[in-house]
Symmetry: C2
Subunit: 438 residues, 2 copies
């Protein structure tokens, strides 16, 4: 054994890593999500992990903590690579991609993109420095039909329902409703109100009221009306009537209510309560212009959003002189998955994908074992051959430790029958590799 210095390996906080059993579940989730997106015809896009800093910053200073790259052995005279950074979301890279590949795309362009993103944040619960997001967006030139505002939450609903996760709710709102309502109240700075109401779940109604009156300068009546709006929740288009009852009107508000009602009607066939109109949801400050989405766990809303998205007016105006409105949702895969891992809820993973271990009783029989394994593989069974001649008990133990469900015994002599042992039931029976079914 070498006498070199030992570097003790340790996890780096904020950079999750899974044991093989957990990883197998993550992989199953990723397959399931991809399948869910492809069922609706979305194209796969991947972009480099790295963008030019001027691209990352093209929307102006970002509040995100960007990681820039530095070559370890960089020539001090050459800072070429210092202008590169890891992407902090998949929206900016997608916008750059669409502008760059504009002539190769067919519009409306429906894409999904599942990749790691990086943020140089201080790690805390539910926050990572490297994590995987699964984004879907539909963009089009000049206008995107409203029916996508309903199709996207439907896809996300199907996808999340197929994963074994705790109860969650997809909350929907419409920014036009908020802005129109505040304008209808005669409020001059609706964005300031949105920013305050956005804190409702953190600081409560009284806290928001104080900000609205003391800082935004609203009257007590205006503030009360804003809080009345934020209190409205409902599982169907009846929320539109609830808003109307508050006695505020205006063109933008009407449009927003029509859109919100349309989306809720389109999703009326989903199980009641899975999609909820929540008039307190605002999502971001400048980007979204219509429908907004935010999903949270029912029993832990404070954990934050596990999916989020909405409709925007223009994806890539900073890169191309074409107006490309769209609507998108991002599933926070790592946020969801890591929480379940931490809570010990990911229990059905497999250490390896092997269906059958072919035993090797002696070196002379290894050729048989290899041939048997080749037949089983050809038939679609993931198959290992035990790595050396050994006692059968030891080989069964290896299969058992790895969670391999079947151990196969080729004939121990030139003549004789194959047998297969089901480690789940303990039963052993004759079998033919050409016809066996599990």
């Amino acid at each position: 054994m070498s006498e070199q210095r030992i570097v003790r390996p340790a996890p780096i906080s904020g950079f999750p890593e899974w044991s093989p059993r957990i990883r197998s579940v993550e992989q199953r989730w990723l397959d399931h999500i991809r399948r869910g997106f492809e069922r609706y015809g979305f194209s796969s896009v991947e972009t480099p992990s790295v963008e030019a800093l001027e691209v990352l910053m093209s929307k102006g200073e970002t509040s995100q903590e960007v990681y820039t790259l530095q070559r370890l052995q960089a020539d001090p005279k050459d800072d070429g690579d210092a202008r590169l950074g890891l992407h902090f979301d998949l929206t900016v890279p997608f916008a750059r991609y669409v502008a760059q590949h504009f002539n190769d795309l067919v519009f409306p362009f429906k894409r999904y993109q599942t990749q790691r993103v990086w943020r140089g944040e201080r790690p805390q619960e539910g926050r990572f420095r490297e994590f995987t997001q699964c984004d879907i967006d539909v963009i089009n030139i000049d206008q995107v039909p409203m029916h996508f505002d309903a199709e996207l939450p439907r896809i996300v609903h199907e996808v999340l329902t197929g994963l074994d996760i705790p109860a969650w709710t997809l909350n929907i709102n419409n920014r036009k409703v908020l802005q129109g309502f505040y304008e209808g109240l005669g409020i001059g700075d609706p964005l300031a109100v949105i920013r305050a109401v956005d804190k409702l779940h953190k600081i409560g109604a009284d806290g928001v009221r104080r900000i609205l009156v003391d800082q935004v300068g609203l009257s007590a009546e205006q503030a009360s009306a804003c809080l009345d709006l934020a209190r409205i929740r409902g599982t169907d288009a009846s929320v539109v009537g609830e808003v109307a009852k508050l006695g505020v009107s205006g063109e933008l508000l009407s449009t927003g209510l029509d859109e919100l009602g349309y989306v809720l009607d389109e999703l009326a066939d989903l199980p009641s309560g899975s999609v909820v109109a929540d008039l307190s949801i605002a999502r971001g400050l400048d980007y979204y212009t219509g429908t907004v989405y935010e999903a949270t766990f029912d029993d832990d809303p404070a954990y934050g959003s596990i999916c989020a998205g909405g409709r925007y007016e223009d994806l890539a105006g900073q890169f191309i002189r074409r107006r490309l409105p769209g609507v998108g949702i991002s599933i926070g895969l790592t946020r969801i998955f890591a929480k379940l891992v931490a809570e010990g809820r990911i229990t059905d993973g497999r250490f390896c994908p092997t269906d059958v271990l072919v035993a090797v009783p002696s070196d002379e029989r290894r050729g048989d074992a290899l041939a048997t394994a080749a037949v089983l593989r050809e038939r679609g069974f993931n198959t290992e051959v035990y790595h050396q001649a050994a006692k059968i008990g030891k080989q069964i133990q290896y299969a058992s430790k790895k969670g391999i469900p079947f151990v196969w015994f080729p004939p121990f002599k030139d003549e004789g029958a194959h047998e297969v042992k089901d480690l789940t039931t303990g039963e052993q029976a004759e079998a033919d590799p050409v016809t066996w079914r599990r």
Copy 2:
């Protein structure tokens, strides 16, 4: 349209990115490779993209150009993240992973790992700054059976054969043969000879001879014998006899020849010429200790290795006081794929995964279209609904541009039959969404 400054999006050299059609083929390749690894029971491992610098450097100074991370808005007093770097291969992270998760693993541990890696190199043909590698390794405590030295190239052979790539050869050698042969010639510094012979394909036999005589200090006879060895190539174990004919002997040489012969015998059932013993292959200088592998394109060997690997004595000695020998191969996915893309050989990609576009002749019929699509999706067909009521010709044109093979027409009135048009043949026929087959 906004008047903001346009940032012209441009590719960053060394960071490949594909259009959706090309990406669909890359995804098919990745699925195929994963399937090939899982058939043999290999477990999936993924590690963070980032390691502590002391982990990346744990084998001593690396010649690789490592990218370190810097937070853009870093507090100058806090250089916590400056000690992080992007991994430059998957071997160092795997070694760290094995040491860290040692008690969760079952040995021999067979893992595959397909991830992006980063190198701050000056980009040139076939060299990337971000690229995907597909690694398989088998490691064990204290010893790894030789039969894995044959299983790994068999897996790689199966995997690459299933991809539509130009003819390639997997060259095999054994470091013990080289070292034993040179020692048998009485050469004191066999590594210096290996380093010189490694340049054979670049500088030719006369160039190598000059180095061996002038720099390494070999006699003309020793140099000739070394070049005679490097000239030996063969598709089967007869190469062992060829080496013996050179009249050099020794224990290490014998062991190496036994191992090389064993691997070639085990692979004798593969198509002739797919695996070739090539006594000039050396691979790296210190890491590999037995079998070594290197695959190149037959018509462009100068492009460099497309797969490489070998047997090593100890994977993770810098992290854990257990000896973990192993054998592994890495497939250079991006190297192979990017060459084919550049040569225009990736031609069978699809813009989207959609099987069927359901047409929407009028807004009133959109409900029917959605219901039909739901049935088709449930039956496993990837299905889009056209995004708005429009002329049928326009909808067919959209499907045609996206390469969607079938357009579905729900009945235009409440009663009537569904019809489906095959865009490949142009034929249109009645069909039932519940029973239709493509």
